[in-house]
């Protein structure tokens, strides 16, 4: 099919008023959730999915893209107003935002956040548009060996790149993989860990699990930490037009925007690492190469530019491995993969050949919703003072209500609520004890593919493990996986054997 025809079909899919209205409403919802401290972009997506379940693929994806992108920007608003990041992706530069606001430059901080987020978001989308089809063409030659190693690479990245404590991240990943083994075994058809429950035959329901881990656990954490006696916090005053002075900031820091966006897209594309890690890393890189590193954290706009561009660029970057290989770049795309499967739009290189109009429609939605961020963001900033006055003790029970009906809707039975409850409690306990929950979702999403590809490869090779390295790309991917593990084990052993001098000295004193 000629490219113009594909583009025209995609445009017709996106120009549908239902898609535009859905994207607008989901964007407004994402803005609201992102702006409320304690509610994350992943939670916004998880709460939206039960509704997208009943939509066609394009409006469903439009809703997710709009909500996640807007939520990442909106997280900056309470950061500047209350010194509380709305989402973890805004935490890296919250100090600078707030101090700028206290200096009377609230609008400069938020205006810069908004425009740079939009530029970063567009950068990430263009990286996605450029990289995904190329990678898909390349991936068409992949067999089960390459997919096995890709899944292994994704799982390994989640442990060693995206976590401060690789051991706990690894255990969280094992929990996710173990949950993925529940249900009928894909090769032999034997029921595993179902304990006679018919509901478990199809496996652990993914969306209720997500709602439990990312929404119910957050509600549980939120209600026990409510502080009833504290009066509403004072917010810094607004100072005129939102975008006044922002043009000057952008003109003074074009290199920071490009560097932050590039870093964000690359980190977003790495499995397991999302917008929050992109923001932290680009803030650190920005400080390292700045002429005034001492000004960071005191109300300096430079780090804010780098990190704001990075966290929104990561949103588009995370879709690259998700669309091309079915490997999520972050928690939001883990949900997206689940939605793609539900909609019969199985992620992988073949979707680029069989349904290119759907892929191009997704790209168009990305551009549209990223541009939509500017007017919606403007409204959100103007309305923020009122929105942030909604007390958490009103909001959290309403979120809980949506969690319950959302989980029910995915199975049309209380079984969905049971899964949500179990995973919510598990997620809460794990996070309280320093185990990250994002690897659980990665394990749950990739577990099936990992096992299926391994078994297929074993059956094809008659049990010969050497066959996993016979094909050149498989060998390179396999070597990369072994290298990551080798370096991690080497580092851990070296740390263990290193004498603990400071501790001993302290003990001596």
């Amino acid at each position: 099919m000629p490219v113009t025809d594909v583009l025209l079909q995609a445009l017709m899919l996106v120009a549908d008023p239902r898609v535009l209205i859905t994207a607008f409403l989901a964007g407004a919802f994402g803005m609201f959730v992102g702006a409320m401290p304690g509610l994350t972009a992943t939670m916004a997506t998880a709460l939206l999915v039960p509704m997208t379940f009943f939509m066609d693929p394009i409006p469903a994806l439009a809703a997710i893209v709009a909500a996640s992108g807007m939520a990442i920007f909106a997280g900056d608003i309470p950061g500047a107003l209350l010194r509380i990041p709305g989402t973890p992706a805004s935490a890296a530069y919250v100090e600078d935002s707030y101090r700028l606001a206290m200096k009377g430059q609230l609008n400069l901080a938020l205006g810069t956040n908004l425009l740079v987020s939009c530029i970063g978001g567009l950068f990430g989308v263009f990286v996605l548009i450029a990289a995904a089809p190329m990678l898909a063409e390349f991936a068409l030659r992949f067999t089960s060996y390459e997919y096995f190693w890709l899944a292994a690479l994704g799982l390994s990245c989640a442990i060693f790149i995206a976590s401060a404590d690789p051991l706990k991240a690894g255990i969280a990943l094992l929990i996710g993989l173990a949950m993925a083994t529940v249900g009928l075994d894909p090769t032999t058809g034997v029921p595993r860990f179902t304990f006679g429950q018919v509901d478990l035959m199809a496996g652990v329901e993914f969306i209720p699990a997500m709602i439990g881990l990312f929404a119910l656990a957050e509600v549980m954490r939120g209600v026990v930490r409510l502080n009833y006696g504290t009066p509403p916090p004072a917010m810094p005053k607004s100072d005129g037009a939102l975008f006044r002075g922002v043009g000057g900031v952008i003109r003074r820091h074009p290199g920071n925007i490009v560097r932050g966006s590039l870093l964000g897209a690359v980190i977003g594309a790495l499995p397991g690492a999302g917008a929050d890690i992109a923001a932290w890393m680009s803030y650190a890189v920005s400080k390292r190469f700045s002429k005034t590193p001492e000004a960071y954290g005191t109300g300096h706009v430079e780090g804010l530019v780098d990190a704001s561009a990075a966290n929104n660029s990561a949103v588009g970057g995370a879709w690259i491995p998700a669309l091309v290989f079915g490997i999520p770049g972050d928690s939001v795309t883990a949900i997206v993969i689940g939605v793609l499967y539900m909609k019969g739009m199985n992620p992988g290189p073949t979707v680029f050949i069989q349904n290119p109009q759907l892929i191009y429609a997704v790209f168009m939605i990305f551009i549209l919703t990223t541009l939509m961020m500017v007017p919606l963001g403007w409204v959100a900033v103007k309305a923020a003072r009122q929105v942030l006055r909604v007390p958490p003790r009103v909001l959290l029970p309403i979120v809980l209500s949506f969690c319950i009906v959302g989980a029910f809707a995915m199975t049309n039975s209380v079984f969905g609520i049971v899964v949500m409850l179990a995973l919510g409690v598990l997620g809460w306990v794990l996070e309280e004890n320093g185990f990250p929950v994002a690897p659980i979702i990665l394990g749950l999403v990739l577990g099936g593919m990992f096992e299926r590809m391994f078994m297929t490869s074993m059956i094809k090779s008659g049990g010969d493990l050497g066959a996993f390295f016979d094909r050149p790309i498989a060998a390179i991917l396999g070597a990369a996986v072994l290298l990551i593990w080798g370096l991690a084990i080497f580092g851990a052993v070296r740390r263990m054997l290193a004498p603990k001098r400071p501790a001993l000295q302290k003990a001596d004193q």
């Binding site: 039960p50 509704m51 379940f53 009943f54 051991l167 706990k168 690894g170 255990i171 094992l174 993989l177 173990a178 083994t181 075994d185 090769t187 032999t188 034997v190 595993r192 860990f193 119910l216 509600v219 549980m220 209600v223 026990v224 930490r225 409510l226 009833y228 003790r393 009103v394 959290l396 029970p397 309403i398 809980l400 209500s401 949506f402 319950i404 009906v405 959302g406 029910f408 809707a409 049309n412 209380v414 609520i417 949500m420 409850l421 919510g424 409690v425 306990v429 309280e432 004890n433 185990f435 577990g447 990992f450 096992e451 391994f454 078994m455 074993m458 059956i459 049990g463 501790a503 003990a507």
Partner: protein, 158 residues
């Protein structure tokens, strides 16, 4: 609720052993060492090794600094914190246990009312919010999206 890593590790070792025992009952392909049991066995070994490493790490850390094995977060030591957590979990459990018989709307309004009151909202606000939130969810999911939320005692009325 914070457990020490030694306790978490021990729980993971038990989980690994349980998975090993369960997976011993899964069949393999004839004449091969791999089949339905392979991945669960590998994961079980992972839990045992990971759990043991957590225990070891904790014991080594405790040589320098002791401390209790279970620490309740300060919020959960207050009656208010426990009541809030119980009300959240109670809401979910009530929908599982009572929802199919009494119906989603009734259980939701009562559950949310209790939760709002536990979170110290005035009665009139709690009542309005509980009814409003339930009505919104009902309209979005049962009316617009046609999700068969249980009507229970209100069957035939709504």
């Amino acid at each position: 609720m914070k457990l020490t890593d030694a306790l978490s590790g021990a729980a993971l070792i038990l989980l690994g052993l349980f998975m090993l025992w369960q997976s011993a009952q899964f069949p393999s392909f004839a004449g091969t060492a791999y089949g339905a049991a392979m991945l669960p066995r590998l994961l079980a070994l992972g839990f045992v090794i990971g759990g043991a490493l957590l225990v070891l790490r904790d014991i080594m850390a405790r040589r320098h600094a002791g401390g209790p094995f279970v620490i309740f977060a300060p919020e959960l030591r207050r009656v208010q914190g426990i009541a809030a957590m119980a009300a959240v979990l109670g809401n979910v459990a009530a929908q599982i246990l009572l929802g199919p018989q009494l119906g989603y709307p009734l259980v939701s309004v009562l559950g949310l009312l209790v939760l709002f009151l536990v979170l110290r909202l005035p009665v009139w606000q709690a009542t309005l919010l509980a009814i409003g939130a339930t009505a919104l969810c009902w309209w979005l999911f049962a009316v617009l999206l046609r999700v068969p939320l249980p009507r229970g005692l209100l069957e035939g009325i709504i």
